[in-house]
């Protein structure tokens, strides 16, 4: 029996070639970002310093200490964090979009952003010491705030047998508004030097250190793997819940797992970078428009696209008003939005 059209037979389910290409693109963006900054460092120096970090290469030290510090302690950690945060936000955004079957979902959809802001505000505006033991309190507070807000919203919207997604969205909005109000009250009622807090809220990598990425990875890797594993199920739940259930998907368990994982991903990312908007919403859509909405390829591609985009945005944020810096969220919106509109016009068919 001849099979006339067999698209699946022709290509493997995971677009390996595309993923490898995007891995290279991400690396290229990282290299670009490492070579440029407020302080000009000669490309040769950059290369020598990078090579010197490999254990089996011996390089004579021909560079300034400050160049080394700038590359190794400022730029590299920053680039890595931007890559990881961009990937996390994109994956979380894609997952929420798939889970809620809602193209407007972004990683902050059900209350993570406002909860994390409340946590950060409490740290900034009270006299809590910023370092306890060896741990930076700020990311922990933001993380607890973010996950806490979602946990409350989840509890409100689920009975023992069923979680209504529509209720969860509304509960998330309500909790979000409430925590935002509390945060605003705190900001107004306290002696204002709100700049550090506001600059955290606006998001950025200005404080990035190696430790940040190290803390983020243990949240990131398992979450990412779990979402990838669930990506086929994510495809299945694009049908309405009953239909998916009749196809053998345990929708309750799937909802729980995906919400928990995406929330952890987002809260962890936000703890270190503040609230960077736009990436989590738009990167999945860009990938969807260009390469289709199969979550098995969408998730890894969106991670790479979002990561690269954020690395480049951070590069711009720290060079356009040199020696000053802009909040990176401004750059992501300024450049991401027109590009996204352009794509929408180009592909006037439904994006969802």
């Amino acid at each position: 029996m001849t099979t006339p059209v067999t698209p699946k037979n022709q290509k493997s389910l995971l677009p390996w070639r595309r993923i490898v290409v995007w891995i290279f693109v991400s690396l290229a963006c990282c290299v670009l970002a490492a070579s440029i900054g407020s302080v000009s460092i000669h490309p040769m120096e950059t290369i020598m310093i990078t090579l010197s970090k490999f254990p089996f290469i011996n390089v004579d030290k021909t560079w300034e200490d400050s160049s080394y510090t700038i590359l190794w302690e400022i730029r590299f950690p920053r680039i890595l964090l931007a890559l990881l945060v961009g990937a996390s936000l994109s994956v979380a955004g894609a997952t929420y979009q798939g889970l809620f079957r809602n193209p407007l979902a972004d990683p902050y959809f059900i209350g993570v952003a406002s909860g994390a802001s409340l946590g950060a505000t409490l740290v900034f505006l009270t006299n809590v010491p910023t370092i306890i033991g060896n741990f930076n309190v700020l990311p922990i507070a933001a993380f607890i705030g973010g996950t806490g807000a979602v946990a409350i919203a989840y509890k409100i919207s689920s009975t023992s047998s069923n979680t209504k997604l529509a209720t969860l969205i509304l509960a998330g909005i309500a909790i979000g508004s409430f925590t935002t109000a509390v945060t605003s009250i705190l900001m107004i009622r306290t002696e204002p030097d709100l700049r550090p807090l506001l600059s955290w809220i606006m998001g950025g990598f200005i404080r990035a250190k190696w430790a940040d990425s190290m803390f983020l990875l243990p949240y990131l890797i398992p979450s990412f793997l779990l979402v990838c594993i669930y990506s086929r199920i994510l495809n299945t739940i694009q049908l309405d819940e009953e239909y998916a259930e009749s196809l053998g998907v345990n929708t309750e368990r799937t909802k729980k797992v995906l919400i928990i994982v995406s929330t952890i991903l987002t809260a962890a990312a936000v703890s270190f970078s503040g609230l960077i908007g736009f990436v989590g919403l738009v990167a999945p859509h860009v990938v969807r428009i260009l390469w289709g909405g199969d979550y098995r390829s969408l998730i890894p591609t969106a991670a790479l696209v979002g990561g690269s985009f954020l690395v480049l945005s951070d590069l711009m944020a720290r060079t356009v008003v040199s020696p000053g810096e802009l909040p990176v969220g401004i750059i992501t919106a300024l450049f991401g939005a027109p590009f996204f509109i352009f794509l929408l016009i180009k592909n006037r068919s439904n994006i969802y």
């Binding site: 693109v25 290229a28 963006c29 670009l32 440029i36 900054g37 407020s38 302080v39 000009s40 200490d65 400050s66 510090t69 700038i70 302690e73 400022i74 730029r75 910023t130 370092i131 107004i188 009622r189 002696e191 204002p192 030097d193 700049r195 550090p196 807090l197 506001l198 600059s199 955290w200 950025g204 200005i206 404080r207 250190k209 190696w210 860009v286 428009i289 260009l290 390469w291 480049l312 590069l315 711009m316 720290r318 060079t319 356009v320 008003v321 040199s322 020696p323 000053g324 810096e325 802009l326 909040p327 450049f335 590009f339 352009f342 794509l343 180009k346 592909n347």
Partner: protein, 364 residues
């Protein structure tokens, strides 16, 4: 696939655009003079000769003699050039009668003249500096209302609070029936004027420290405490001259970086920037306008000898800054109070404190 190629080309465009933009900024930068790292514990300022002033700072601004014969003594005259006053002053100049004369005309921020026929008895002073100034010239009893964040002098704590720094309870203000409301920003001006109140809003102190003395004199004329205000102003100006004199022998002081939080830093065109200028400190954020966040790379590259920050662990605990001179020497100055954020009589205490940290013993 066609749209794949399109996407890739747009992405390349975006990346190239980013690169171009980034490079252009970088190329336009003036090359920074390389600052050699100073050996620890030896701070080598560029100065003409070693300095040994003997007169205490409270000396009147007449002559300050230095014992070292190599330094020329010179009469310290009022070296301040006449500054264009931002509000016009129709009273006779200060070397005439120190008696209060009314009516007093003050030009406000919109260019209108506010007329005082007699000293106001019920002032809402919605400004920390104004409150401190009024108490300093003995006219604090006229204040009937202020905002939540006024904490000095202690007598001010019992004054009715009519709002926090940015939100004024207009009803409460009207209810207190003041005969003058003094603001430091315009948000509520129209509302209050529509309620029939007399409102005074003068331009904020720009970047010239000596304008503060003019503000003291203004309050003196408004309240009739002309003599006290003149004393306060003269003392203030004198202290500035003392500072300038004490720093005379130095052509250039050490480099400094101030972090007001989140790596926001003042440029040279701010009030704080002018304090640095007064103390001959080299602000590493000299090419920043107003207040902006500065890139950590620039801090590392420009290697300040002193860091001023209330959040010192931002720098001492961060491996990025471990090579910075200020961090290595532990030269991180944590201001003890907000002196420098209130443009009032205590402002110079902040300057003194900073100066003593950086040039220990300079005023003794």
């Amino acid at each position: 696939m066609k749209s794949s190629k399109l996407c890739i080309s747009v992405f390349i465009f975006f990346a190239s655009f980013t690169t171009l933009l980034a490079c252009s900024e970088v190329l336009q930068q003036k090359p920074e003079p390389a600052q050699p790292a100073l050996p620890a514990n030896v701070v080598n300022y560029i100065q003409k000769e070693p300095l040994k002033p003997e007169d205490p700072m409270a000396a009147a601004p007449s002559e300050i003699q230095f014992n070292s014969p190599k330094i020329e003594t010179k009469k310290i005259t009022k070296i301040k050039t006449p500054v264009e006053k931002k509000y016009t002053d129709n009273t006779p100049t200060s070397n005439e009668s120190l008696k209060a004369t009314f009516p007093v005309y003050i030009t406000d921020i919109d260019g209108r003249e506010i007329i005082f026929d007699s000293p106001p008895e019920r002032i809402i002073a919605f400004d920390s500096a104004a409150v401190e100034t009024l108490f300093a010239i003995g006219e604090g009893h006229r204040i009937i209302g202020t905002h939540d964040y006024v904490s000095y002098p202690p007598e001010a704590n019992s004054i009715t609070k009519v709002g926090d720094a940015f939100n004024m309870d207009v009803e409460a203000v009207v209810g207190l029936n003041p005969d003058l409301v003094y603001l430091f920003y315009p948000s509520f001006k129209e509302q209050l004027e529509n309620a029939g109140l007399k409102v005074l809003l003068i331009p904020t102190i720009g970047d010239d420290i000596s304008e503060m003395a003019d503000h003291f004199r203004m309050w003196g004329r408004i309240t009739g405490g002309v003599m006290e205000s003149n004393n306060l102003a003269d003392d203030f100006e004198g202290r500035i001259l003392n500072i300038e004199a004490a720093l005379e022998p130095y052509t250039e002081g050490p480099s400094v970086f101030q972090d007001v939080g989140g790596l926001w830093t003042p440029g040279n065109d701010t009030l704080v920037g002018n304090v640095f200028k007064l103390l001959k400190l080299q602000n590493i954020a000299h090419d920043i306008e107003g207040y902006q966040q500065i890139s950590p790379e620039v801090i590392v590259e420009r290697n300040p000898q002193y860091i001023i920050s209330s959040y010192s662990d931002t720098f001492s605990d961060d491996p990025k800054y471990s090579g910075v001179v200020a961090v290595k020497n532990g030269s991180i100055y944590i201001p003890s109070a907000d002196y420098l954020s209130i443009s009032g009589p205590r402002f110079l205490m902040g300057v003194d404190e900073l100066a003593n940290f950086i040039y220990p013993g300079i005023f003794k």
